[in-house]
Amino acid sequence: MDWTLVLTQAINGLQLGILLFLLSAGLTLTFGIMDLINLAHASFFMLGAFICAWATLYFDSFVVGIVCAILGTALLALIVEKTVISHLYVRDHLDQLLATFGLILIADTAVHLIWGPAGLAIPLPSQLQGQVRFGELVVPTYRLVIIGVGLLIAATLYWLVNKTRAGMLIRAGASNRQMLSTLGINVKLLFTSVFILGAVLAGLGGLLIAPITEASIGMGNDIIITAFVVIIIGGIGSIKGAFVAALLIGFIDTFGRAFLDTIFALFMSVDSAETAAPAVSAILVYLLMALILVWRPQGLFPPKLR
Amino acid sequence: MSVLETNNLSKRFGGVVATDAVNLSLQKNRVHGLIGPNGAGKTTLIAQLAGQLVPDAGRVILNSRDITRLGEPARVRAGLTRTFQISALFNDFSVLENVAFAVQAKAGHSFRFWSNVGQNKKFNDRAHELLELLGLSNQAHANASALSHGEQRQLEIAMALATKPLVLMLDEPMAGMGAEESMRLIQLLQELKHDTTLLLVEHDMDAVFALADDLSVLVNGALIATGLAADVRQNPDVIAAYLGTST
């Protein structure tokens, strides 16, 4: 086997995993703490990308674009939380799902109204456009940036949740709402903050990937389901589970698409391998999910106190 | 003859020892009272006997058969039924439908797709009998959720009886009942004794002493005394730990 190719694919898998983690971290946090399942997470992914694209073009600076996108998604998240989401905490999951599906329809149409039906590309600054060489391995600089930023955020989240007072509140919230309010903690404020944090993480995911794929309407609607698969596998509510499962899925999906035909060709004709491989690799992560669920219906790292 | 028996049954919730190596034995067609302060582990014990909770260690034996690994529905079909401390009813069903469904559950599998189960005469007749027995006849067509607290407790028992249990475990059946309702239930349980073995968890001591042939006392998950009711009442440990304060 060609090891440079394997390494290149490993980096692609890592990048996909990181992206999935950014998206699923917010999902699993909001679920773990507020017992809220939020489809509109996909919309913040898209909005982060669009705001960043627009601001980058308008101010002619990627950095300003990023800042605008973070502030913009945070503000939108605040508005959405106050007007809609805060009414949903006490509702059942089906209501939450349908209402946030409504939000997706609204967000998709709003973006269409504002920026038109076509996508927006984000031009990268020249420093990020190059490639980095490691011996025979050539990696686009921007991919390394995505991976670096993602790992940095993962580490920050880990620190935030496990080492700070805010994180202690977050973990306490996951186990006991009443206890929090009897401690005199402002549960409303905590919920709003966590929702905004989750939305900003999703927005970051969107704006990071947009220079590669460009921002497009409904860009989050498919990947959100993959993020669901991540948190199902990881254990709904667990940050650690989300991280492990996101990387697992990133690698399996990427390697499946890249090498499954070669592997299949070992025990079937090249022709049938080339027909079968794409179909199997397309459903590989779902097969993995099914297997893990048969073995552990609550996922790999189910939070203990639920 | 011992009908239901536990061997060193143990269960912990984190730091709490809810069931501490319990050896309990219910004799055929007798009423076995189980008393103990709140949080002693009575409900947890019933849940393990019923198969709702899996014990950490120990065994449950029904009629000389080890049922520790048996699922909850299978235990009910084997003749071991429980009621809930907090009434667990079908709130969208009428009172009659609640009981008729319990009769249906006893009647065999429900993979029947065509006939209208609401008009099943066998189920409805039996359900009416049970409602009559529990004094709920005039409420048959009310929604279960519309019943008073005491009536819900009666319905709870009617449903359990519909499964024709060999062993019936009652978790605080009288809690929330009026005096008259309690009296009626005590009478009913007396009659049931002829063909049913009863485990009665109850805080109403008058009811326990009126009914129980045998008595066990649970404190902090452990049985501190078990035996003939008359003997256990005299047990100094029991008087000190429990009865002393209330009687």
């Binding site: 599906f101 993959t226 099914a290 | 667990a88 009813l89 429900s110 209208n116 449903m159």
Partner: protein, 333 residues
């Protein structure tokens, strides 16, 4: 539970009559395109009714119902494709009987396997897992280059339902290419599905599902394990949704992976909720309102999803019980 339905049955009957005759009245008034809209309406009503067996009767919020529509549709698309362009002789056929056999088998198997896994979980797990499995079908269809991948397949001819011997007896074959014949076939299928769902709802089987929806703990304490009953309901609902998919492929002369997008499942769920979850005809009303609104709104603006999203929000936040629920709601005393 027994007194209320009579009024609903009359109302439901009226709704069905209205649906049945409106396109013909419109045809007579010189607006033939209504037949097309109503055909779609009836097909979606079938899918929504099948979902309501899960959602309303069994309380199982399956968010992957569109997968079955897609599987049913491809059970028409693939055999017709092979029959037209050659290949896979064992699969190729224009016969509607074959399409139904294939679609029903595939949907039943898919429901059996995914149901067996997802029914071991509850609540939000169940919702997400059903969603994920339907997404799996989406990606599978996209990956099948042979059948057009993303672009899908066009279906050149509608399924042929030839009854052996009927011709000899002088009974003409069903000409599904004739729009109003096709419409009547779809309508008959809707009646059949509604009839079966109504029967199931009041059967021994349905009572177990309803009981387990309200209090699973108690059902187990009465000696019934609801798992196998739920699994069967899951399979039956999958088959009915598959039938609507078979009709849909015939209706559109086209199948594509986009039929399986989760937003389609969301729309089906919306129809059921919109109509009201606790009645037999709720999903029919919901599907009707959905299709008609979509039709009128999309004539005004390409941005018709906006009012739709807002409506969805309003229904969920304020209109519990859906349209029928609102009509039924007695004034508080």
């Amino acid at each position: 539970m027994n007194g209320v339905p009579t009024l609903h049955r009359i109302g439901g009957g009226l709704v069905l009559l209205l649906i049945l005759f409106t396109p013909f009245v419109m045809l007579w008034l010189g607006k033939p395109f209504w037949l097309d809209i109503f055909t779609r309406l009836v097909i979606l009503a079938i899918a929504a009714s099948s979902l309501s067996l899960l959602l309303s009767v069994a309380g199982l919020a399956s968010f992957g119902h569109a997968a079955y529509i897609g599987l049913g549709a491809y059970a028409v698309g693939i055999p017709v494709y092979y029959e037209t362009y050659g290949g896979a002789d064992w699969l190729a056929s224009y016969s509607g009987w074959w399409h139904v056999l294939l679609g029903v088998t595939v949907c039943a198997l898919f429901a059996l396997v995914t149901g067996a896994i997802s029914l071991r979980t509850k609540g939000v797990h169940f919702i997400m897992i059903t969603m994920a499995f339907s997404q799996m079908i989406l990606y599978l269809l996209v990956a099948l280059e042979e059948f057009g991948g993303d672009d899908g397949l066009s279906v050149d001819l509608r399924s042929e339902f030839v009854v052996p011997g009927a011709q000899v007896l002088g009974i003409p074959a069903l000409n599904m290419e004739e729009p109003w014949v096709f419409y009547l076939v779809c309508f008959a299928m809707l009646l059949l599905v509604l009839f079966i769902v109504a029967k199931l709802r009041h059967s021994h089987f349905g009572r177990v599902l309803q009981a387990a929806k309200q209090n699973e703990l108690r059902v187990k304490a009465l000696g019934i394990n609801p798992y196998r009953y739920r699994l069967l309901a899951f399979v039956v609902a999958g088959i009915f949704a598959g039938l609507s998919g078979i009709l849909f492929a015939n209706y559109a002369y086209f199948v594509s992976p986009s039929m399986v997008e989760w937003t389609r499942s969301g729309e089906l769920m919306f129809m059921v909720i919109l109509g009201g979850v606790s009645t037999l005809f709720g999903p029919v009303v919901g599907a009707s309102v959905f299709v008609l609104l979509e039709h009128f709104l999309s004539r005004f603006t390409v941005f018709w999803h906006l009012p739709f999203g807002i409506l969805l929000l309003v229904v969920v936040l304020f209109g519990r019980g859906g349209i029928i629920g609102m009509l039924k709601r007695e004034p508080k005393t």
